[in-house]
């Protein structure tokens, strides 16, 4: 019985990794064992009307309602709800200090518009000089994003768009977040981190963090002055934006490996603060997943690889910007291709049981070798099996 695979995207990193395992490519109508699908396909496959039932030897690369984590407004809503629930139960995790959450303060202050407009204005008035960033909830690649530093600018934007304020925003909702105007700079340029996280189950939570990731640098020096507020080359790190800048270099693509970032920080800032930074990054990933776990539809056929976008500020604090459910598998440089190839290779090793045939019935506990360059982030199964052992990162009261 040969394993079959199907893919919506003609990406060499996917096809090459499947073919090197001797898997046979088939169409979506055929009997596939692994489907690397686009989100549209998933939506239709999972919809009630389709009547499609997956059998025990089928795995697909999205959860039915992954938008709970990948839509900016839903992610924020889920995290806020998670924190409130922990607070209600009196859990130490949700401890507050100075009106901020002490341990779960990893998203910038965010409001959904138009629903939270009034709450936003109240918050805005507390610090009228600050900058805010407007992002459409359902778009990607930096599209539709802009910065404002005056309430009047927001009102003007809503007037300028077709239709009255309320109507415009219900067609496409936005989130507005406090802009992180003190990002950590290297060589005077702003960057963000792209990290990959594989989730093979939400309840119990099983998540793995890929050791290799990269920083995406802006091609222009960071300038927080008002004059440059509209210059997307200064503020937005998306490759899709920076690619069109005059300074873009396709040999390195503006990407620096996370290992090199870590080396630089350790060498110039010290081991402790660097370790704390990376621990906090893993911490925020775990809690963002725990926040959405209650609402994600558990389906044993599903796994998902998320692209986490994180910004580090100049106090070495990480901030979660967003989570992508379909991180780009296109390679912009040679090293990029190697990284994404390894990523896909390891993903397949983890999700396929030792027998070699995808099977939803196995215990989903991969061996150390199968992990490859992934690191176990959290496996709630293992915590239940061996109290205290098994998970490296679930140390809830790690730092106070």
């Amino acid at each position: 019985m040969r394993v079959t695979f199907c893919t919506d995207l003609d990406k060499s990193v996917v096809v090459a990794n499947c073919e090197k395992r001797g898997w046979i490519q088939v169409g979506p109508e055929d009997d596939w064992n692994i489907y690397w699908a686009g989100t549209q396909t998933c939506r239709s496959l999972f919809s009630v009307d389709s009547g499609y039932r997956m059998h025990d030897n089928q795995l697909i690369n999205h959860f039915p309602n992954h938008y709970e984590i990948s839509r900016k407004d839903l992610l924020v809503k889920n995290i806020k709800r998670y924190r409130r629930d922990l607070e209600k139960e009196g859990n130490m995790l949700a401890e507050r200090g100075d009106s901020k959450y002490l341990h779960l303060d990893f998203i910038p202050v965010t409001f959904v518009l138009p629903a939270d407009y009034n709450m936003f204005v109240e918050e805005y008035r507390k610090a009228p000089q600050s900058t805010w960033i407007m992002k459409p909830c359902g778009r990607s690649q930096g599209s539709g994003i802009f910065l404002i530093n005056k309430l009047s600018k927001l009102k003007r934007w809503s007037r300028e768009s077709k239709g009255p304020f309320q109507q415009q925003l219900t067609r496409e909702s936005y989130v507005i977040s406090k802009y992180i105007d003190n990002p950590l700079l290297i060589g005077g340029k702003k960057f963000d981190l792209r990290l990959y996280v594989l989730v093979t189950s939400f309840r119990p939570l099983k998540a793995y963090q890929f050791r290799m990731g990269f920083c995406r640098f802006c091609t222009v020096k960071y300038d927080s002055s008002v004059a440059e507020l509209d210059n997307m080359y200064v503020h937005l790190t998306n490759v899709s934006v920076q690619k069109h800048g005059g300074e873009y270099n396709s040999l390195h693509g503006g990407k620096l490996s996370v290992q090199n970032l870590r080396l630089h920080l350790e060498s110039t800032r010290g081991k402790q603060v660097t370790e704390k930074l990376f621990d906090q990054i893993s911490w925020l990933i775990i809690h963002s997943l725990k926040a959405v776990a209650p609402v994600i539809a558990t389906d044993r056929h599903c796994f998902e690889c998320y692209g986490y976008d994180i910004i580090i500020d100049n106090k070495l604090k990480p901030w979660l910007i967003e989570v992508n459910a379909s991180p780009s598998l296109t390679s912009t440089t040679a090293n990029d291709r190697i990284l994404k190839h390894k990523l896909m290779d390891n993903i397949f090793s983890i999700i396929v049981p030792p027998s070699g045939m995808p099977d939803v019935r196995w215990n989903k506990i991969p061996s150390q070798e199968a992990l490859g360059d992934f690191q176990l982030l959290i496996d709630e199964d293992l915590i239940h099996l061996h109290e205290g052992e098994g998970s490296n990162y679930l140390k809830q009261n790690r730092w106070k």
């Binding site: 640098f217 300074e247 270099n249 390195h252 110039t268």
Partner: protein, 514 residues
């Protein structure tokens, strides 16, 4: 015998005192000592002992010792060999060729070697000083003066000072009458590696993460103690067994004696002023090289702007020319539009160093360790004067590139004759395959973390001999694939990606006594 030894120590001590009187670092120390003398802890009645004790308590004792230590490192006489004149002549000849090439490039491009910048040019440069990668200058017509492969041809054509025997092939370095260390000697030098001691390198799969963390923690505690003691020779000993990333910057600074004091900032400013004032043609070569190397390198592109500052200032630094033991030949040029006199004749470039293709990579790795460009500059400068300059000059010194190539050749021939013969059959000179690695000390070829481990060893053992050893080790490691190909291009392809090389374990494997 004892008597003679005492006399020579005595003479050295006098020499040191004389030199110290003129060195700025010692003068700063002397001022600190003077301040100390005026405190109540130093008593007139018991001047010598109370002063010594007070110095120990204040760390000035360590500073003084460090000053002596650094003097020893920089001023010790060059080990002369009987064939020094031969090598000197060859270097002068090569220098003349380089100067000729520079002159013809200038004529071809219709520019002057040196001229004064106009006020607007100066202002533009000053304004862009923080982001020189955006400084508009047309460099596409400029080419590097020479590349490692050109220098290699020069080395190859060195006709030995002793008569060559007719039977030996024309292109072996063995014709060089230089004494180099063999593997047994290297095992004696790199004692900690050959004894199989635990060296802290980059965490590879050899250690479990728990073992590695324990070793790292141990080294951190020891390293902190060494830094508090602030005594350079101790730091050098410490470095032999590897350094945690977070301590490396301080340890290197201590060993090299490159701590920056306030007067260093002033000195760097004066170098910057020189860059702003004079437009030297070499600037375009420097900019071109950064563009060809660091700007395109995904490990170093973020540090582009600092590299411009450091390398441009480097070219203006006359102290480099003074301190270089290989006494480079230098050009004297007249500033455009001026009359030739002492004021308008400048040494071109003031540092005496004409960069070759890849020169930027000597400085690039330091960007990982130092955020402050001035601190970076002085550490890089000291490292260059102590080690790197020997990698691109013809000399008979055992640390020079000629000796290193000979050492590599001998080891390869001895331990991997199969590969040796394979290269010869394919008409490829074995040194040609690794000359870039040797001349660049592996910078730009090994990933930064591994490279820093290698440079730790250079500094710790005060020797570049680890470089040819690593070159041989890598070739032996990739032997099977190398034997399958037979053109230089394909060989270079096999050796292009060194990202999987673990420097410390690889070196230990070859140095461990059987």
């Amino acid at each position: 015998m004892e008597d003679i030894k005492d006399k020579s120590i005595h003479h050295t001590a006098i020499k040191i005192c004389e030199d110290f009187k003129t060195s700025p670092s010692y003068q700063a120390l002397f001022q600190d000592i003077q301040k100390l003398v005026s405190t109540p802890s130093v008593k007139y009645e018991d001047f010598k002992d109370s002063l010594l004790k007070a110095m120990k308590d204040n760390g000035l004792d360590a500073s003084l010792r460090n000053n002596v230590y650094h003097w020893m490192k920089t001023k010790k006489k060059e080990i002369g060999s009987p064939h020094d004149t031969f090598f000197r002549k060859a270097q002068i000849h090569w220098d003349k060729r380089i100067h000729k090439s520079l002159n013809s490039m200038c004529t071809e491009l219709g520019i002057n070697l040196a001229k004064i910048r106009t006020v607007s040019e100066r202002e533009e440069l000053a304004g862009k000083w923080g982001e020189l990668s955006n400084y508009e200058v047309d460099i596409h017509k400029y080419r590097p003066v020479y590349a490692p492969k050109d220098f290699f041809e020069v080395l190859l054509n060195l006709k030995g000072p002793t008569t060559r025997n007719k039977g030996s092939p024309k292109w072996e370095f063995a014709q060089m009458p230089l004494k180099v260390k063999n593997l047994a000697d290297l095992r004696c030098l790199y004692l900690e590696l050959s004894r199989g001691e635990q060296i802290l390198g980059v965490n590879s799969s050899l250690f479990s993460s728990r073992q590695y963390s324990a070793l790292e923690a141990e080294r951190m505690i020891l390293g902190d103690k060494v830094l508090i003691k602030n005594y350079a020779p101790m730091a050098q000993e410490f470095l032999k067994k590897g350094c945690p990333n977070s301590l490396r910057a301080k340890i290197w600074t201590l060993i090299l004696g490159a701590e920056v004091k306030p007067y260093h900032y002033g000195y760097f400013e004066s170098l910057k002023d020189s860059v702003l004032q004079y437009d030297l043609m070499i600037d375009k070569l420097i900019i071109k090289d950064i563009n060809l190397t660091a700007s395109n390198d995904d490990q170093y592109f973020v540090f582009e702007d600092v590299l411009y500052q450091v390398l441009l200032c480097f070219s203006r630094d006359g102290e480099i020319l003074k301190d270089l033991s290989t006494q480079p030949g230098f050009m004297q040029v007249v500033i455009k539009g001026k009359q030739s006199n002492t004021e308008n004749n400048i040494i071109f470039p003031p540092s005496g160093v004409i960069p070759f293709h890849g020169f930027t990579m000597y400085a690039a790795p330091f960007c990982y360790l130092y955020d402050d460009p001035v601190q970076l500059y002085f550490v890089f400068r000291t490292f260059y004067i102590r080690y790197f300059h020997r990698l691109h000059r013809v000399c008979g010194n055992p640390q020079g590139v000629v000796s290193l190539c000979l050492q590599y050749e001998k080891m390869l021939q001895c331990f991997e004759p199969g590969l040796w013969h394979h290269f010869r059959k394919c008409q490829i000179h074995p040194v040609r395959v690794v000359i870039k690695w040797i001349m660049r000390a592996f910078s730009g070829h090994l990933p930064p973390e591994q490279l820093l481990n290698l440079w730790d060893l250079i500094l710790a053992y005060d020797s570049l001999e680890i470089i040819p050893l690593l070159a041989v080790d890598i070739l032996v490691f990739r032997k099977d694939n190398l034997l399958k190909v037979n053109t230089l291009q394909n060989i270079e392809a096999v050796l292009a990606d060194l990202s999987s090389i673990s420097v410390i374990p690889l070196l230990q494997m070859s140095l461990l006594k059987e």
